[in-house]
Amino acid sequence: MKLQFTAEEEAFRLEVREFVRQHLPADIKRKVELGLRLEHQDYVTWFRILEARGWLTPSWPKEHGGPGWTHVQKYIFDEETLLGGAPRIIASGIQMLGPVLLAFGTEAQKRQYLPDIRQSNTWWAQGFSEPGAGSDLAAVRTTAVLEPDGKHFLVNGHKVWTSYAHWCSMMFALVRTDPNASKPQEGISFLLIDMKSPGLSVRPIRMLEGGNDLNECYLDNVRVPVENLVGELHKGWSYGKYLLGHERTGIAGIGSCKQQLARARQLARQQGLGDDPLLQAKLAQFEVELMALEFTALRLLSPNQQSRTPGVEASMLKVRGTELRQAIYETLVDIAGPDAVPFSLAAQELEHLDQAAVDESLVALAANCLDSRKVTIYGGTNEVQRNLIARATLDAY
């Protein structure tokens, strides 16, 4: 057992830090630090910088452009990029579809799609959730019927909570191909759908904090070539689960917690609360919980560590990480005091920052806090995660 970072790991940390310092464009960094909204181009710019360095796809195998990092290096990379003010890697092509295609796609699919994902030429929409289904992905009702000629599926249905659909040219979706399967998890397939297909329309969903990154997608007799089926017919549920496993690992968001805790300390000084004993105790409590989370992430994600409840480690990290993050955001509102009240959506764009009625450090704070409520909902609500953890624990003990 050796719980210090090795010299190599520390060197890697400095390398990442220095890279971010040198290459992250100043305007993007400023947006991230102030919690302002990022444009599609901001992500593309930064992702291409990372890709040029070979760092965009840490979880991909080396032969497909992954950097071949250990889990500790991935961890350090996440933390350093976030603390350095870089955007999170949010592209679902990189984090979700990539691993699925690498594991289950045909060679043709890999050749066709992976390079454009790495070059940020193609953004992918995730077509999983449906109205009335929420965390219950097995309730997919969108249907895909193979046409008589055997060359196309005809897809009909309605997907919701599709992130950044307006930036995406492709979608991966779970669709029901066998309505007569005995269990709801069966008879689901995993399809790749061109967003420009006739019959596919996108409607943005306006969120409570003013954002509109999420969308509804309506599929009305959309024709999808059979080549766009990933893996086996009717087996899509297992690919979806594989994908969500990948999604949850990063969802603990320890780097985001650290970023926001640093923001809280700085704001506390700015708001004249640097010596407030109650606030200091609260921030110390966050530091304790963050430390507990961080060591746990490193321990549970470490390949040679056995937990008694294998399979739910990511759920545990998700639950703690997301709830801690929300608590820190709530404390940011406390720190802002009356300055949390003024609210301007326009001023949350860098070019209109001067329209704000409060200091620029406070402009996006309430919106960020409200937006953070999604993290205990998406990727399987924390209630669902706790169900899973409880089941595994009751089984194991």
Binding site: G134, L208, V333, G337, V341, T376, I377, E383
Partner: protein
Amino acid sequence: MDFALNEDHLALREAVQRFCDGEYPAEQRGNPQTEAQRRQRWQAMADLGLLGLPFPGDCGGSEQGPVELMLVAQEFGRALGGGAWLASTVMAGQLLARLGSAAQQQQWLPKLASGELQAALALQEPGTRYEWQQVSTRASRNAAGHVLNGRKTLVLDGDSADLLLVVARSSGASDDRQGLSVLLVDARSPGVQLQGFDTLDGRRAAHISFEQVQVADDCLLGQEGQAADEIEAVLDAANALLCAEAAGAVETLLAQSADYLKTRKQFGAPLAKFQVLQHRIADIAIALEQLKSMACAAAAVQGEEPAKRRRVVSAAKAYASQQGRQIGLTAIQLHGGMGMTDECRIGHYTKRLLVIGQLLGDAAWHLQRVAAQGAA
């Protein structure tokens, strides 16, 4: 001790409910109001007598007390309604009624009650957080009356106000409780500059600066430099009503969440079958009863001696701030992704509850004020 409402109370409540049902359709609650809506609602409130509720009978009012105001605020909370009622009638209007001479009252209050004029209280200053007695805006005497210089922040509904009640310092250091005066200022006076802005709950407020603003002699309310006690009393009255409003908003959140859980299915069963969600509903239901009780208590102590009034009002507001926010966030979670959308009303109620928690003292500030009164 008796919690019963009399017939007049019930009639008032029903009238406000009717007004809210008409003016604030359920699916639009919390949306910013258009200028036309603002005017129409303001006039309707005036017609109902709400804008003069606490004023003397000879000034267009109906001399209602804190309990009646509480009932109104609770209904506004349920519908996210009321607009500038808190700013104009409760805060500015009541301060004017408390400090003003008979002549001043008769000059201004009827116009507030009729909706002809709208007033706002310009109190808070930059960097003072919730310490309202930290006032640097100066009122300097001159031959014609006073000259005002200074900056005010977060004046609620300040940009639609015609009349500003400005708290300014006549004497003393910037954090003295002594030396505060209240001046009546026409919002269109030369030297008054106003920056209106949206607030998180879809309402409006303003930062206002005063540069060499000349105020006439008859626009000083009450004795020069002696306004602190009455300002504090009005802030306590307003905080009590924010508690009532929070109780009303929470009641709507509870009703909508209960309805959602009964309707929405997940994993083949209505959400209401999940015990974890049931217990959250139970906790909200308990908190709601407590919020209502505290709103009653805060109303009931308005006439009491200051130490008792401070203790109870601050306890109520601390509780409303904590619970209101927490319940709002829980209601979002209960609604899942739907609760995060602008279309769903849950988020609007949550934002109003968040704002209530940050206005006129947050939970930490009020908790400290409770502690400062010593043990009960």
